[in-house]
Symmetry: C2
Subunit: 191 residues, 2 copies
Amino acid sequence: MPRRPSFDRDALIEQARDLFWHRGWAGTSLKDLERELKLKPGSFYAAFGSKDALYALALERYAQDGVARLTGLANEIGPLETLKTQLQHVVDPTRETKACMLAKSYLELKAQNDELADHAGGLLKAMERCFADLFRHAQSEGQVDPSLDPDRLARRYQSDLMGLRVSAERDDVDAMELARDIADDLDRLHP
Amino acid sequence: MPRRPSFDRDALIEQARDLFWHRGWAGTSLKDLERELKLKPGSFYAAFGSKDALYALALERYAQDGVARLTGLANEIGPLETLKTQLQHVVDPTRETKACMLAKSYLELKAQNDELADHAGGLLKAMERCFADLFRHAQSEGQVDPSLDPDRLARRYQSDLMGLRVSAERDDVDAMELARDIADDLDRLHP
DNA sequence: GGGTTTATTGAGCGATCACTCAAGTATATA
DNA sequence: TATATACTTGAGTGATCGCTCAATAAACCC
C-alpha cells in the first residue's frame, strides 16, 4: 500500500558527507543541504531526523570508507606500502578537500556540540586502531622493527597524517614533498 | 573635551582571541563576545567595527605572541632547543586550547570566508618563516646538518606541530609522548 | 478503479544571527 | 559651573537559522 521514497538514501549521505567535509558543520546550512540534495525540508526531516543526525551518518560513512580503503589496499600491496601510499593519496591534487573530516569536525565541534565531537573522536580512535593493525602486520612481515610499539607508531602516524592534510589545504605548501618526507621516515622503521 | 573610553582595548583583544581560539568563528556569537568582554553592541562596534575585524585582530595578536615567544626563547636556550621546547609547550595540560588557532581558523573559514582564511594563511606562512629562521640559526651553530633545506625542515616541523596540537585536543592520546617522539626526530638532524 | 498509506511540498514557526542608532550619560575644557 | 564632546546603552533591525506541519500527490493492494 505504501508509496516508496524516490531517492537513494546512501547516495544522499555521500553527497552530504562531501558538503559537510568541505564546508564544515556551521558552514553548511539546511538551505545548502536542501539545494544540493534536492530535498524539501519535510523530506529531509522524514529521511534523517535532524542536521546533526545526518552529520553523524556522514562521519560514519567517511570513516567506514577510509577503513575499507586501507584494508583493501593492504591486501594488494602490503601494510607498510599502504601506509606510504595513503600519504600520497590524501595529497592528491584532484581531491576537493584535503583535511581529514574527522579532525575538522572534532576541532570545530569540541567546544559547542559534545555529542558530535565525541562521535568524531571515537571514529578517530577507530582509524588509529586501523593504523596500529597495519603496523602490527608490517612487523609480522619483517617490514618494521618489532621492538617498536605499534600503538605508538599509529598515534605518530595519525598525527603526521593530520598535519600533512592541514598543510595540503594551503596552496603555498608543497604537500607532495611533505608527504615524501613523512614516507621516508616510515622506511627508517625497517629493522 | 572628549570623554575617554573606559576599557583596555588590548586586553579585550586578548580576551576575544581566547574566546575565538576556543570556540571558533561560527561558535562565538556577538552575544558571547558582549557577555565576555562586557561590552554593549554599540560599544563593540564603535571599538572594533565588526566581528570579522576583531577576529582579524585576534589572529594577529595570536601570531605576534607566538613569534615573540619563539624569538625570546631562542635568545635564552638556542634555536634547536627552542623548537624542541615549543613541542612540549603546546601540549602543556594547563592550556585551555591546544590546537593552533591559525590552523583551526584556516580550516573553518577556507570554504566560506576567503578574507579571514587568507589572513590566517598569511600568518601561518609567517610562522613558517620564523621556524625556518630557527633552523638556519641552528645550522649556523652546528646543531643541524647544513646540507638540509631549512625551509623544507620548517614546513615539516610546522606540519608535525599542527598534527601534535590536534592530537593534544583529544584526551585519549598521550600528547606528551607524541611530543617526545617528534622532538627525538629533531635530534636526528644533528650532523 | 477505489481506498489506503505514505512520500512530497512549501509556507511559515520561534529563535538567533550580526548589526544599527537615537537617546542618555559622563568627562574634559573653558 | 557651563558646554561641548565623546562614550555608553539597549531596544530593535532584517536576515537567516534549524525545524514543523497541514495540505497535496503518488504509488501500492484489493
